[in-house]
Amino acid sequence: MKFERYGIGIAKGLRVTIRHLLRRPVTTQYPEQRLVTSRRIRGNELVWDKEKCTGCATCAKSCPQGTIQIVTSVSAEENKYVVEKFEVDTGYCIFCGLCVEACPYEALFMGYAYERAKYRRGELVLTKEGLLPSAERKPSGYARPKIEVTLPRQTLLLDRDKVKR
């Protein structure tokens, strides 16, 4: 060690830390204080629009993990595919969003929710009913511009820090 600067370097550092006493902390107190997530959040659980889905299985093909399982049958009277089984094992899902992007009919959405932890692994497997939208299972705006504009804006740390300079 050589104090050729006579401790000025240390003094500068001490000044930076003491000045932080006067700044606001940047952390948030999570369960009480929540930030708005991105409008494009690739949150937990896919949301499925039963009406729009044609059962083309593009999502299943585009899934890198092979998470999506679709079984369809042909309905005689309506002349279209009927989705017999639509199963997503979210335990394997990596939330890459490729299925949502691939869906040609905008029938699949990423979830807007987070905090969807489960107690059993079995509960992670979502079937047809479990994939439908509900109050706590809102679709996110990922690759869906129409939904994106309806969601609230993300809170940014950039807007929160008050740094006087």
Binding site: M1, K2, G7, L14, T17, H20, L21, R23, T27
Partner: protein, 362 residues
Amino acid sequence: MAMPVLPPDWPGGFWAHWGVFVVIIFVFVMAMVMGFIWFERRAMAIMQARLGPNRAGPFGVLQPVADAIKVLLKEDIIPAAGDKLVHWLAPVVAFVPVLMIFAVVPFQGGAILADLNIGILYVVAISSVTTVGIFMAGWASNNKYSLLGAMRQVASVVSYEIPVVLSIIGVVLLAGSLSLSQIVLAQDIPFILLQPLGFLLFFIGGCAEINRAPFDLMEADSEIVAGFHTEYSGMKFALFYLAEYGEALAISAIVTTLFLSGWRGPVLPPWLWFLLKVGLVFFVIVWIRTTVPRVRIDQLMALAWKFLFPLALINLIITAIEILAWPAASSWVIVLVNIAIMVVLVLLWSKFFRLGGGRVEV
């Protein structure tokens, strides 16, 4: 044992005094240590742009209590290949001396368990015992990280004891007494002004002895995990933790007593002055810890032997000369002279101080 500052109307005599003060010291140390843990975590957090503990109680003041309860309920683990007796004994050996230091610390005039006439010598002697406990912990854990940490601790304490004691002697020369309350009473001008260099050396050395950043090598978490207490859990870990903060408290208290005129101060009650000064010293320790990186072991040694030790010797000699040559000189002249001497010496040493060590050919 003479008790000159014991109030004459104190009921019950010596043993009542002893009993009351033991309880007071124990409660004081525990409360202050918990307060310090909270204070350090909060102050540090704010300096790091976060909030720190704020859940348990108002502003999180009960966090140390919650931690204590958690730690007490934890399983006590002893390494299978460790030395069980020593492993068990080590936290006690480390913690008890810390508590014993406070026996001679005057909280205000007369508020002292035992006003030993060799008070400061007692402090120096007792505080070193903690090292033995830490080395026992490092040895008994049968863990290489622990051993490294313990060896670092012994090395640093052995080195830093010398400049620390030398700078204390300067104070003792000025006060003319080894008793801590006599030293406080002698400080019409706080000794930080009369002994600026001594204060600097004592503060650096004290930080090194209690393993506070930048000298926290023995538990350097980024290097040797947790040092000597890697293998400790539960109550035994809590004792080490208490010992660590107790030492910090002790150093703050001794710095206050030796250099900041102890309990003395205007307007406020003496004990409050004492606490405020202790808190201030501790805040500076925390502040430094927040800012600076850690030194390396050879740099730690070099700092002790090449920087602090010669300066402490020179400081001692200068103090002695001043006392002998100009016993009647005005204190304020001496203050100015001493500050000038400190600046010159520190600059001079900074210029020529070179660090030893570096890469070793193997």
